[in-house]
Symmetry: C2
Subunit: 640 residues, 2 copies
């Protein structure tokens, strides 16, 4: 029985299970828990006392002795919908005792095989003994090579605490994220390996917690002793725990939208009832349900974006390709963007034409890249609002958009004010010079759709004191943990996809430190020796309480100054609200880079220009050296 | 004119050039140097005063101004055989001065384009400014993407010295190997990027020098001021320099045998004559020629192996496949191996049969895997030498070898002593039990051709107190720098080749520390619970004076105890001399791992057994985590 309703949210973060011991009477255990409001059982599939080496050997030899109940005790759909298997927790594949190691390997393989036979959606693997778990990882990695659709959830305690060393002098940080990181690196980021996070009563710092949201967490296991008791004797969670739960609820949503069909890909909450009777868990379930239901409903923008979360898209090539009607349609709906443009044009008109000359001076405004006309409309609205007289040239290279533009002008009766020019702005021979040049040529990374090159071409017909809107723009970048994006890029099994930038609505991503500015372009630019090539070395300091982090790539944004104090942008700390025209851009790394605490992360970034194309190259040079991505624009470029 | 003759050596390490300044009269400069005994010129292609930003701009605009002499001053074959180009050394692509950076980029591209136009075999790139040279590397990497066959030699001083820091307190090691390492990582180990090593008057430690022999050194540049003067006033080199020169002479050989057609792939020696007249260099050339000619001629074994140096071969699958006659022929020629076997059998016969019973006791000896009979012969020779009576069973699964075996027995008149059994030893139903079991089933890594599995099967027909020859064997492994092998594996552009072990005559390889034992098998093994699975964690400490190193993979060897003190093996420190049946084995790493000084290198190694195959898995877990290579034997395995 789901936790409740939240508008727009159909995710499985609403499901809640119970962790139990092995139960001889599975049907009874299941029905009593389902009737108490839980959705699934997390339980051992095998009567869990340790099988001795001898019994395993005899088992292997006889190949007859049953080691678990029959698969007939539940129906196939009960097994797959309501049971998550739990591998015997005594196994220790990294023990110094060779016999125990070999027994553990046999048991692990046997239990996973049995779970596959039952078509379970997921199996919980016991927590690793620590960061040294190569033999455990090797064995799991072998199983992953031949597994059906089942997910393996590695149980990891959520912990980052100082541990006193034996000598009592030094102390050592026990960071369980590093256990996970070792394990998944050994298993090459396998897509069926994910995390069941054991939430303990004390939580690490916020920065440290943040890392996990870039990782494939599928379940959170909350022990009853992590709860507090409120004044009325009911269980509740600390504020920090509540915030973490909100995070889990939010992050499951993405998995739903991406992989609705796979149960194991959803985030589950589980209550752990080790050692206490089952009914007493009901108040805990009610409390978790209350937390879920009290969350804000999804906003309109969130609902629009939900289907795009963590979905990689190739950036547009608006210069080489003509946009389709559908694309214009979508972008034109972004009212926030055009109202910012209208404000900027208004301010420019006020500056250009004093009140006393409002009726005599006609300002020449050219919209370069007019598309189907939204900036023409915004400019005319600005003229009306400020009482200034305007002459508009609408320059557009896409002949299909020109058709619509003509019909718009006719419909609105703008024939006397607006001149439509069907031409590439870089080649247009303008009949007069402009006071104001308005354009919307920015990509997610600012200059990545070649706004600099286009405006360089258009600048010819701007008056020496003319204004460009936007007047400048800057790209920003920050390192992120994004295991989902990394796996998606890696699934193509080539270098090209690792050397491509993607437009993506970032969601299951950990932003590891504040973004930094990369390249700035200013318009108009009258300097004699100008080049649109750029080179920038960036040095990121990740907050020291975060712990080690894994960098899968870099998230890019832009911020543009339209005119004076009117800006437009998607850089997270200054983003224009309620704007949906741009998602972030993602630059992947071919080999993810692990940054230890206190180490700076050095990124080098180039914007390169050739005669027919523009491209970026990037590399990491600290704490270790990556290769240079995309040399010569071999994998990804934007055509001129 | 080559330096002289050395038996068996046809390499270009015999060629010696002169580094000069730009010369207006190229034909004269070339002819006067060739007549002095040199083979080529290393010289600038452009009159090297720095072009100002302005002149470059005007150049680009006019596209007419000549910046170098005509290509007609030399013939095409003179350009390509006798000239190595030298890029202007003033360029600084990592300067803080943006203008200088941009000028440098233009100049570098222009000069490389000119050198390509002249079809030069190689161009020398100026030394990087230090370990931070990302923009230089980015620019070179772009050039490498579209280069013809020309090699680019990066000039690197051979230096690893302590440098006092600004503050006078700390000091910092200036290790130029790290400059090279940064550069080539940024350029992804590009195969056309190699090293011209500037040999200075003082040399780093032996361990530190050793690293360079795993790198693509194509030229060594020796300054005249690195020479000493002997009693008679002639130039000579220090003992340590002489040893280094021997190393260079030896290492060029490999490149010759592999890539004879490409001049740029050879090692050249160059004398630097900056600032002094030309004729005075002749005594230096004579001295270098003397060093070359006094080297020992290549041994017979070296001449046999020369064609196999650094050439990767798939290991044999002798159990699944039948060996061909040619393979038997080659291995049977290894007299050293069989004389060791004969010694071992002799000792076993002495132990088994006291002198007084020599004429009454007949020892039953079974050769399992008899092939075409070399071990039968060695055993009979041992019997004769010791005066013991022998009954031999020669068991062989390859029906083709059986044919030859029958003819051998007939030819030698061994019919009464030798019984031939055409059968797989694992399935043979022996008529009696053996005193001695002799086999040669070892691969380069000991157990990698499944000797353990075969002998487990054959052990049934060994008497309880019987002897197995070999009685045990151990595999050994050590980390290596091997950029040539890494590039060859990488050229396949798939994972399979990175998860395969190769048999290879290691040559251009730096062995970074002593090898360590991995797995040991002992025969006979009468323990009840035995398994041929193995797991080993190894920790290598690289000598701290080495500096940082790059580990491209691991070299594997074996050592076998045939009987008591008679051993056989290829582990470098204990290798049996004059034996050529085995080359080393090489386990690559998908991502080479850089180990900083003082960091241990942890390798984990598994031998895994399935019902139809045996395979290895391996991973590095310190200083960083690799993926587990070859999970489930997906890429490389040996069939049972």
């Amino acid at each position: 029985m789901p936790l409740g309703e939240r508008a727009g949210d159909k995710s499985d973060s609403r499901y809640c299970g119970v962790e139990t011991e092995f139960n001889e009477d599975m049907p009874l255990a299941l029905s009593s828990n389902l009737s108490s409001g839980f959705d699934f059982l997390l339980c051992p599939l095998v009567n869990g006392s340790q099988l001795s080496a001898l019994s395993i050997e005899s088992l292997a030899q006889s190949a007859l002795l049953p080691f678990a109940g029959s698969d007939l005790v539940l129906t196939p759909s009960q097994w797959s919908s309501h049971v998550v298997g739990k591998v015997s927790s005594w196994i220790d594949l990294d023990s110094d005792d060779e016999l125990l190691r070999l027994d553990s390997e046999t048991t692990l393989k046997q239990e996973i095989a049995w779970a596959s036979h039952l078509s379970l959606q997921a199996c919980l693997l016991p927590r690793p003994p620590g960061p040294s778990c190569a033999n455990y990882a090797r064995c799991v990695n072998q199983l992953l090579q031949g597994l059906n659709n089942m997910q393996l959830w590695l149980r990891v305690p959520l912990d980052k605490s100082d541990e006193d060393a034996m000598d009592g002098l030094s102390n050592h940080v026990n960071d369980t994220w590093e256990w996970w990181n070792s394990f998944r690196l050994l298993c090459e980021h396998h897509s069926q390996l994910s995390i069941a996070l054991d939430v303990l009563s004390s939580l690490p710092s916020g920065n440290s917690l943040g890392r996990w949201f870039g990782e494939p967490i599928r379940a959170a296991i909350i022990h009853t002793n992590s709860f507090l008791t409120n004044a009325r004797g009911y269980p509740c969670l600390s504020k920090r725990h509540q915030k973490l739960m909100d995070g889990f609820f939010n992050h499951s949503v993405q998995w739903t939208s991406q992989m609705r069909e796979v149960f194991g890909d959803e985030l589950h909450l589980q209550l752990c009832c080790v050692g206490i009777a089952r009914n007493p868990l009901r108040p805990y379930l009610d409390y978790v349900g209350y937390l879920y239901q009290r969350m804000d409903p999804l906003s309109e923008q969130e609902r629009f974006e939900i289907g795009y979360r963590d979905f990689l898209q190739a950036p547009l090539q608006p210069l080489m390709d003509n946009l389709e009607a559908q694309t214009y349609e979508t972008f034109e709906k972004d009212t926030m963007k055009y109202s910012q443009y209208q404000r900027a044009v208004s301010k420019a008109l006020f500056d250009r034409v004093p009140d006393e000359k409002a009726s005599t001076i006609t300002t020449v405004l050219m919209v370069v890249g007019a598309g189907r006309g939204p900036l023409v409309r915004a400019s005319l609205q600005a003229a009306e609002a400020t009482g200034r007289k305007l002459k508009v040239y609408a320059v557009e290279k896409n002949p299909n958009a020109i058709v619509t533009l003509h019909s718009l002008v006719k419909l609105e009766g703008w024939e006397k004010v607006v001149t439509i020019v069907s031409c590439d702005m870089r080649r247009w021979d303008a009949p007069e010079k402009a006071d104001i040049l308005v354009s919307e040529l920015l990509g997610s990374f600012g200059d990545n759709e070649l706004s600099p090159e286009c405006l360089d071409g258009a600048q010819r017909f701007l008056k020496p004191d003319g204004i460009s809107i936007p007047s400048s723009y800057t790209s920003f970048i920050q390192p992120v943990t994004a295991s989902k994006l990394y796996k998606d890029v890696k699934s193509h099994k080539d270098i090209v996809h690792f050397e491509t930038a993607y437009v993506v609505k970032l969601h299951s991503v950990a932003r590891l430190c504040p973004s930094q500015p990369v390249f700035t372009f200013t318009h108009p630019d009258h300097s004699t020796k100008k080049s649109n090539q750029r080179y920038r070395k960036l040095r990121f300091e990740i907050p020291s309480d975060t712990g080690s982090v894994m960098v899968h790539g870099f998230a890019g944004y832009f911020d543009a100054t339209l005119y004076k104090d009117v800006h437009l942008g998607i850089e997270p700390s200054t983003a224009t609200p309620n704007m949906f025209s741009w998602f972030a851009i993602f630059f992947p790394l071919r080999t993810p880079i692990c940054v230890p605490p206190g180490s700076p992360l050095e990124l080098q970034f180039w914007r390169c220009c050739g005669s027919t194309k523009v491209w970026y190259e990037w590399c990491v040079t600290s704490p270790c050296q990556s290769s240079i991505h995309n040399p010569g624009g071999r994998s990804y470029w934007v055509g001129l």
